[in-house]
């Protein structure tokens, strides 16, 4: 039977004590796991600072004892719900578009796509349209009254986007699940239904 090592860690954690140490073979005999599994489990506990090795014997540390008494268990998985806003590490397409919008001062989406080498991509165009519309809703972007010429014969032209007040070099982040725009330059959040007061 294959067992997640963290569950093995849980089992090992439950049998160790502060005062009397146990060797690895002893743990193997007591818990009915292989030596390799027990070894990995001990490593997990050691990484948390809950066990220590003294000679060839494993002891529970004070921190480990406190953790066990408070009901902590060792399980696989993440550290719980995400906390804080994560800014993307690599340059995303929207970040590149934001940088180019700031460089040019005012721009249409086709011009942006041209500079960003995505001129033929409808997916990219739609991505930017959606993003800019959200930024417009919260006042970070605005559109000029006149449109730029272009498009099919009957087209009224392309919208020209402008930043009325430059918030900074970091692109605003559209958090669609929370319906807010987060500005990483100032740390402010703008609810999409209205502007921040």
């Amino acid at each position: 039977m294959s067992v997640s090592r963290r569950w093995v860690s849980d089992a090992v954690f439950s049998v160790l004590s502060v005062d009397s140490g146990q060797g690895r073979q002893g743990l193997v005999d007591a818990l009915d796991y292989t030596s390799k599994q027990v070894g990995r489990g001990l490593q997990v506990l050691r990484n948390r600072g809950w066990v220590r090795l003294d000679g060839r014997l494993w002891f529970l540390t004070k921190a480990g004892l406190d953790a066990r008494e408070s009901g902590r268990v060792v399980r696989a998985g993440g550290k719980g719900r995400p906390r804080g806003i994560k800014t993307p590490k690599k340059r995303t397409f929207r970040q590149r578009a934001w940088a180019e919008l700031r460089r040019s001062g005012k721009v249409t989406i086709p011009e942006l796509l041209l500079v960003l080498d995505a001129g033929e991509s409808k997916r990219r165009a739609h991505n930017l349209e959606e993003y800019f519309l959200r930024l417009e809703q919260v006042g970070i972007l605005t559109r000029l009254r006149r449109r730029a010429k272009g498009g099919p014969l009957t087209s009224p032209g392309h919208v020209v986007w402008v930043i009325p007040e430059d918030p900074g070099p970091k692109a605003p982040i559209w958090r669609s699940t929370k319906s807010i725009i987060h500005d990483p330059n100032s740390g402010k959040d703008y609810p999409i239904e209205g502007r921040q007061s």
Binding site: R91, R96, V115, D117
Partner: protein, 256 residues
């Protein structure tokens, strides 16, 4: 019309200049000059490169001071500028060392005002980290910067000169951007009327495409478009029409 950048001679020249800058022998010579008149693709080429290399892009403006330059630079590097010029200089050095981003100075002639103190400030903060600095301006900057030997010595000998489009460039524009086939004689006609200015060439290509759509043509020749307005003179905005084949013996004044 397709929306893509055409790999013209000017683009190739620019990339060759960048390569020259990266391969330079003297480490302190970290500046490259890109010069050319308006309409030859200077700005779009540099902006495209700035996006690809994640460069810091600063634009010169009248009455620029070293203080303003430092504030702009630090703001672009993502921090709030400190209050004094000395502290801003240290702050900028630290940030540039960490990011190693190249810097593009558009309208670079404005950085040569007040005895070139704005550009001297840029030189001072990029000296240690050797960040590449691209100076974009008109031809006159070459004359002006020579008056400042400490700066002039830091510009690499290769100057990227953005030239008017050649016939090959116009042909490339037509084949890469136009949704219909443009015959060679019409390409020559476009070349003749546009005088190598990329904006005008692009407009001409758009006009040819619209003409083709209206008349349901897949291939357009000079004969199809005789008498049609193909471009407008960039000086006085007068319309320029496609000529008949036999009247093309004399070239227009000022054409290449």
């Amino acid at each position: 019309m397709k929306n893509k950048l055409v790999n013209t001679q000017n683009v190739k020249l620019f990339l060759a200049g960048i390569l020259e800058l990266e391969r330079r022998g003297a480490r302190e010579a970290n500046m490259l000059m890109v010069v050319g008149d308006a309409g030859y693709g200077k700005t779009i080429t540099v902006r495209r490169w700035a996006d690809m290399s994640d460069a810091i892009y600063l634009k010169g403006r009248p009455k620029l001071s070293p203080n303003q330059v430092m504030e702009d630079l630090i703001w672009e590097l993502g921090e709030k500028p400190k209050h004094t010029i000395g502290r801003m200089e240290k702050q900028a050095r630290r940030l540039l060392m960490a990011s190693q981003q190249p810097i593009v100075l558009d309208e670079a002639h404005f950085y040569l005002t007040d005895k070139a103190s704005p550009l001297e400030m840029i030189r001072a903060v990029t000296e240690t980290s050797e960040n590449a600095v691209i100076l974009v301006s008109t031809e006159e900057i070459q004359t002006t910067i020579r008056h400042f030997p400490p700066l002039w010595s830091r510009v690499i000998p290769t100057v990227v000169r953005m030239n008017p489009a050649s016939l090959e460039d116009v042909s490339l524009f037509c084949s890469d951007l136009c949704e219909v086939t443009v015959a060679d004689d019409l390409v020559r006609e476009i070349y003749h009327h546009t005088e190598g200015r990329y904006r005008v060439i692009k407009n001409a290509v758009a006009i040819v495409e619209q003409f083709a759509r209206r008349n349901r043509l897949e291939r357009v020749t000079t004969a199809d478009m005789v008498g049609e307005v193909i471009a407008h003179d960039w000086r006085d905005r007068s319309p320029l029409k496609v000529r008949k084949a036999k009247s093309r013996a004399k070239p227009r004044a000022g054409s290449v």
